[in-house]
Amino acid sequence: MNAAVRVETLKLTRSPVGVIGTIALVAGTFALLGGITAAVAQGNPDLTAKAGPAAELTWHGLISGAVQITVAAGFLGFGVVLAWIFAREFTDGTITGLFALAISRQRIALAKLTVYALWVAMVSLALMVGLLAMGLVLGYGAPDADTWVGLGRVGVLALLTGALAVPVAWVATLSRSLLAGVGTAIGLVIIAQVGALAGAGGWMPFAAPALWAMSNGTVVTFAQLAVCVGLALVSAWLVCGSWSRLQLDR
């Protein structure tokens, strides 16, 4: 298992997909936040109206903006990288080399998910640290207790979004297609957005983390967030099972 994790780590860190995915999620989020902040500071009325709570030049505004961006960009960014991690073996043809090895395909799939989880955790940490740095640079002062909680909530939101993207790996495996995986990631963005707008509530797992973060944790319970984690674990189990039973029959 350790060997498979080493292999998958090397593949992700050396690939343009891993590097670009990380830059898009982290730098992209801060570029958007910078743009919103600049527009609000210049008194742009259209953007100020659209940004809602993010239109405040305070820690609260900055964190609200980060939550809104992470909800949409998270599913897409995490989902695309995850789809690539799994589908590439089929599109590159390297899947034939993953049979008849000392390490089972089930463990290889688990190693892929482990490396993905570590990457999601690092991106989440980078978002939190970056937000802290950005707020300090913008002169919002030393963070108070609410601000620290808000920063933590952005990190948890990113982690949960990454976890909820795991079904993408299952679709990419069953379809053996990168595009199908990416399409699923886009579908998850739509489900999360529509679910939140339609008031699906905390029992709709794909919308629950967004509702939780946007309401400062007031409208979603711990049990409802636990369902998100459960969904991710079930998806991971399905992925490993599919890799274990895999046949190259098409």
Partner: protein, 232 residues
């Protein structure tokens, strides 16, 4: 080491392989020849667990860690260098990554060690794939058309490696289109046609090509006659 007993695997539409019975013993090189679409790759996929038989049994007397294979695409990733690819192949086969260095020397890949796989020629990619398949000293080796894209010097290298590993006791199953090549190295040559093994080819004859096509046509004629008999 590897034994097929009346193995069948058919795909929707009727293509596939049927009634495959053969074995490969330690130290033996068994070559598989046939026209395109004869079922050689399907047979090898069955041997390596990439496909499960619908009938019959495939038996391997060694654990997967002792198997080395190259089927269609090398186990190598475009973003990694040749050296890195050989090291990850070692890790996945359960052997010491240090062995990749010996492999670079054995397959004359040292000058390419730091070059990314995506920048290699087709022949060099094939050499990396072959090195990755056998560097962990497998006792069962399965190679699907291993001389594809290789230059004459690399074909010689491949031949030496295959013979060397057979002398060490490995059981080797290799498919090829090159009758002359297989006649030089194989202990037995199995003929495959339209999803069935139709016997062995005597490699001691004068004109291998003529003998090969005669056997294939003979089998085709027999099938046609059988089909016509059934149709009447």
């Amino acid at each position: 080491m590897l034994a097929f007993e009346q193995v069948e695997r058919l795909f929707p539409g009727g293509a596939g392989v049927t009634d495959l019975t053969f074995h490969v013993e330690p130290g033996e090189i068994v070559a598989l020849i046939g026209l395109n679409g004869a079922g050689k790759t399907t047979l090898m996929r069955l041997a390596l667990g990439m496909l499960r038989p619908q009938r019959g049994t495939v038996r391997l007397s060694v654990p997967w860690a002792e198997v080395g294979a190259l089927i269609e695409v090398p186990l190598a990733y475009p973003e990694l260098t040749v050296g890195e690819n050989l090291r990850i192949a070692c890790l996945l086969h359960g052997c010491d990554p240090q062995r990749a260095q010996e492999s670079l020397i054995a397959w004359q890949l040292e000058p390419l060690a730091d070059r990314r796989f995506r920048h290699l020629s087709l022949g060099n990619r094939q050499r990396v794939g072959l090195a990755a398949a056998v560097q962990h000293d497998p006792t069962l080796i399965v190679l699907d058309e291993p001389s594809n894209a290789l230059d004459p010097a690399s074909v010689l290298l491949l031949r030496e490696q295959v013979l060397h590993r057979a002398r060490l006791g490995a059981a080797i199953l290799v498919s090829s289109h090159h009758l002359d090549e297989v006649s030089r190295i194989a202990d037995r040559v199995l003929l495959m046609n339209r999803g069935r093994l139709i016997g062995e080819l005597d490699t001691g004859g004068q004109d291998l090509e003529q003998t090969f096509f005669a056997r294939i046509h003979e089998d085709d004629d027999r099938r046609l006659a059988t089909a016509a008999g059934v149709g009447r």
